[in-house]
C-alpha cells in the first residue's frame, strides 16, 4: 500500500506522517511536491500539518491553488482516501473538499498538548478499525482549530453523520472544559459526504509509538490499510479505470 505525503512550502509534519506510514506501519510512502501534477499511483493521500505558505492570508488559503491539489481532487472524486491533518484539514476546508471554516482558538493562543477525542463514526476508511465511541488520546498543536459552520450546514453535517471525531474528556464525555479550542459541537474531525475525505485537527502521526507517550493514533493509519485491503472502498486507481 502506498501513502503519498504532499509537501507544501511550510509543511512541517510531512516527515512525521511519512515516518508513521513507512517506519511504524511498514507501508510504502513517498513525498509529493506541491508543484507536481500527479500522485504517482498512491493508494492513500495525506495532507500533513504545518504552516503552508506561512499561514499568510488565511490558513490553507494559498495551498489550495497548488498544482497538486487538482490531482488530489480527482483522486478524492474517484473515491480515494484523503486524510488532512491539522494544516491539511485547513487546506481541505479552503479547497472546498470539506465544509466549514476555522477560527482562531477561543483563548487566542496556540495550544499543544494531549487531548482526548471520541470516534463518532466507524464507517470511514480512517476509522474502519476503531471501536464505536472509542476514546483516543492524541496531541493537538494549533492556533486556529476552532471549527465553525453555519447552523444549517451543521445540521446537515450531523444528519449525514459526517462528524467523525469530537473532543471529550478521558471518559468520553464532551464537556466544555475538554474542548481545547472552542470548536462548535466539540468537533475535532469531519468527513465529506462520500466519507473518503477526512480532516482532523489532532495529530495521529504523533501518537504512533509508545516512547512518544501514546499509540492511540496508530488505529487511524491501520484503519485505512485494513479498509483498502478489505476492499471497503474503491481505490482511486481502479476507479479511474
Amino acid at each position: 500500500m502506498k501513502f503519498a505525503v504532499v509537501v507544501f512550502p511550510g509543511s512541517n509534519c510531512d516527515h512525521d506522517a511519512y515516518h508513521a506510514a513507512k517506519d511504524v506501519l511498514g507501508q510504502d510512502a513517498e513525498f509529493v511536491w506541491h508543484k507536481d501534477a500527479e500522485l504517482r499511483g498512491a493508494d492513500v493521500v495525506i495532507l500533513p500539518g504545518g504552516f503552508s505558505h506561512g499561514d499568510y492570508l488565511r490558513t490553507g488559503a494559498i495551498a489550495r491553488f497548488s498544482p497538486v491539489m487538482n490531482a488530489v481532487r480527482a483522486f478524492a472524486a474517484a473515491g480515494g482516501p484523503v486524510l488532512g491533518i491539522c494544516n491539511g484539514f485547513q487546506i481541505l476546508l479552503e479547497a472546498g473538499m470539506l465544509p466549514g471554516a476555522m477560527l482562531r482558538n477561543r483563548e487566542l493562543k496556540f495550544r499543544c498538548e494531549h487531548v482526548h477525542i471520541r470516534v463518532e463514526q466507524i464507517d470511514t476508511p480512517f476509522t474502519f478499525a476503531c471501536r464505536p465511541q472509542q476514546v483516543l488520546r492524541i496531541p493537538i498543536a494549533h492556533g486556529e482549530g476552532n471549527y465553525f459552520i453555519t447552523p444549517d450546514d451543521l445540521h446537515r453535517l450531523e444528519t449525514n453523520r459526517q462528524v467523525i471525531f469530537r473532543y471529550t474528556d478521558a471518559a468520553g464525555s464532551p464537556a466544555d472544559e475538554a474542548n481545547p479550542n472552542g470548536s462548535l459541537g466539540s468537533i475535532a474531525g469531519i468527513c465529506n459526504e462520500g466519507r473518503n475525505v477526512l480532516g482532523l485537527m489532532p495529530h495521529p502521526e504523533r501518537a504512533c509509538e509508545a516512547v512518544l507517550g501514546s499509540t492511540d493514533g496508530l488505529v487511524i493509519f491501520e484503519s485505512v490499510v485494513a479498509a483498502l485491503a478489505a476492499g471497503a472502498l474503491s481505490p482511486a486507481g481502479s476507479a479511474q479505470g
Binding site: 512550502p9 504552516f51 506561512g54 496556540f110 499543544c112 495529530h203 502521526e205 504523533r206
Partner: protein, 748 residues
Amino acid sequence: MSPASLHDQATLERHGLTPEEYARIVTSLGREPNLTELGIFSVMWSEHCSYKSSRVHLRTLPTSGRRVLQGPGENAGAVDVGEGLAAVFKIESHNHPSFIEPYQGAATGVGGIIRDIFTMGARPIALMNSLRFGSIDDPRVRRNMEGVVSGIAGYGNSMGIPTVGGEVAFEGCYTGNPLVNVFCLGIAKIDDIVKGVASGTGNPVYYVGAATGRDGIHGATMASAEFDGRSAEKRPAVQVGDPFMEKLLLEACLEVMKSDALIGIQDMGAAGLTCSTSEMGSRGGAGIDVDVSRVPQRETGMTPYEIMLSESQERMLLVVKRGREHEVEEIFRKWDLHAAHVGDVTDDGKLRIRNRGEIVAEIPNGALTDEAPVYERPTREPEYLKDVQTLSLTGRPALVEADAFFALLKAPVIASKRWVFRQYDHMVRTNTLVLPGMGAGVVRIKGTNRALAMSVDGNGRYSYLDPYRGAMLAVAEAARNVACAGAEPIGGTNCLNFGNPERPEIMWQFARAVQGIRDACLGLDIPITGGNVSLYNETDGRAIYPTPVIGVVGLIENAGNVLSRAFRAAGEAIVLLGETRNELGGSEYLKVAEGIERGTPPELDLKAERALQQLLVGSARERAIHSAHDCAEGGLAITLAECAFGTGGIGFDVDIAPVSGAPEGWSLAAALYSESASRAVVTVSRDGLSALLARARAAGVPAREIGTTGGGRLRVTVGGRPVIDAAVNEAEAMWETALEKYFKQRAA
C-alpha cells in the same frame, strides 16, 4: 582632541565609537574612513560583534575535549555523538530587542539561533529557552511576557522545530531588561558539517533570502548600550521576522549543502551583510568584492551604508564553487527563492564594497575581525556584596508549616510553566521523549538508538550573591538535570547576561562568573563549544543581577533508558542522593516565605557533584533507577512534590532528617527547603534498593532511603514530626494553574 576631521564628535558618538577607537581605525586604513566605512567599523567593533570587553575572559574557558568537533569561533559548536553524527548547538540572547518589541524581538531571536545551526549543515531538531522577567504582579511585565512567549511560539512553531523545555524566572531586577536566551540543537553527519568560510579566488558570492530593508540598522550597536527613558524610540532598530521565509531557506540550504557545490555559508544576523562578508573572508584568508546594487532591496533609495548595516532577517550569504552556479540556483528556484550573485571571492583579503561598480568602501577583513579592539577592563569588587552575604536567621523561628509549602508551590518561579510551554509545539518531528516540565528536554535521534538530553539553567539571585559560585551552580545544575535523564553530559554553551562592562563592579561580576564556569566545566569535564555575551543590560543605571545561563547537552546511548522526574509506580522506594545542609542563603523559600534575598548560595563540591552525576548516568544505563529529579529551587519538599505531579496521582510518604547546624527554630525549614547542591531524588523497586545503596556507597555518594511512593497524598514528616500532608491532585491543581491565573486575572 578628536583626530577626526571628516566626522564630528556627534557622529562618532552616534556610532558608539570612542576617539581612541577612531584613531585606531585611521591607523588600520592609513586614512580616515568615509561614512560607509565608519558604519561598518562601528558595528563590527560593537560589543555585540567584537566581544571586546569579554574576550580576554572567555579565552580561559575549556573548549576542547575528545568529543568536540567545533569549538567557539564558528556559527555554532559541535560535538561527536557517535555513529558518524554530530550535535550542533548554541545559545544566544535577544534581550534588548525583546524589551523594545517583545513579539518580534523574541521571534527574531529564535530565527537567528536556528540559522546559526542550519548554517553548519545541521537539521535543527530542538529548541529551548531561558526567560527572565520582572515581578509577574506588574501588568507591564505580564504584557511583555505574553509578547515574548507568543513570539517564540510564532517563530518556532512555524519552523516545525519543537521547543522541548527551558526555564522561566521572575525577579524585580529584570523589569526593564527581560532576558530572552534561546538555545537550538541540530543534528548533522560529521562529514557534512559546513563552515562560514570564503575561499577560492573567483568563486561567486550569492545572497539568498528576504530582500534587504531599513530594519535593524544599528541593532548590534543598540545591544551595546544601556537603556534610558527614550528606549522606545529605538523600535526601528528591531527587526521583523518571517518564519515562512526562514523555513524555505532552511530546506533549500540543507538541499544545497548535500550537493557539494558549496564552499561556505553564513547567515546575516547582527551587523548583517557587513558581518557575514568580513567574517567569511577573514576565516578563509580571502577577500570579498560585493556590489550592493545587486542586493535585493525592498525599499527604494537605500544607500550602501544602509544596505551594509541592515539587519533584515532571513538572509544568507553563500560562496559557491565556480561552474556549479546553475545547480545551486536551480535548488533555490524550486523553493521559490531568488539567489542573487552579488560578488566574488578575491585574493587580497579586503572587504570591497561597490555601488554600481564604483568602490564605496575598502577595508582589510582582518581590521574588522581579528584586529578589533580587545579591552582588559578594570574590575572592582562591588560594595553591596559583603552586606547581602550576611544572613542572620536567629531570634525568630521559621515558617515551616504547610502554608510555606503551598506558598512555594504557587510561587511563579516554581509553579508549573504549562501556560508557557503549551503555546510551544513541543512534539513536532515526533522525537520528544520527555515532555516539557518533566525534566531535561530529551529527543531521540531517528535512525539510531540514541537520544540527546538538554537543559538550560541559571540562577540570577545566586550569581548576585556570589557570581563565582552562582555560575558554578548553573553549570552543575544544567549538567545534573541532563544526568537525571540518564544522559552523560558531553558539551556546554553559555549565555552571559550582565550590565555595563565599563563599570568596574559589573566587570568584576563578569570575570568572577567566567572563572566559575571555567572551574565547574573543568571539574565536570564539560567543554564549552560556544555561546554569547549580552552586556549593557541596564536601565537608568540599574543593572540586572549578573546572570550566566548555561546549556548542557548529554548523550544517552540507548533511548530506552531515558528517565523523567515522574514517579513510575506506587510502592517503590524513594532514595535521596547527596546531603542536605543548612543552606537557605539565596533560596526561594527565604524569598517567598520570609521576604529575604540574602546570604550565600549553596556550597558546591565538584568531586561530589561529579560522583553524583556519574552514579545517576550509570544507574540509568543499567535500569537500576526508575525516575530521577534534581533538587533545586524550593529544596527537597518541592522536588518530591514535582516527582508526584504528572503521574496521575501517585503520592509519597517520606520522613526526612532534621538538619544539624541550623539556627534554633530553623532545622525543619532547612531540611525541607534548603537548596544544597549535588542532590537528587530517585526511585527504585524494593528489590533493587539494597543494590542501589551499595552502588552509591561505592561511588562515595551519600544515599538514604527516605520513604515510599503511593498513597495519593504528599506526606512529609521531619524526624517523625508531620509537616506536610495534602492530596496530590489538590496540590497539583494549585501548582499547575498558579501561573495562568495571573493572565486570566487580567482578562477578567
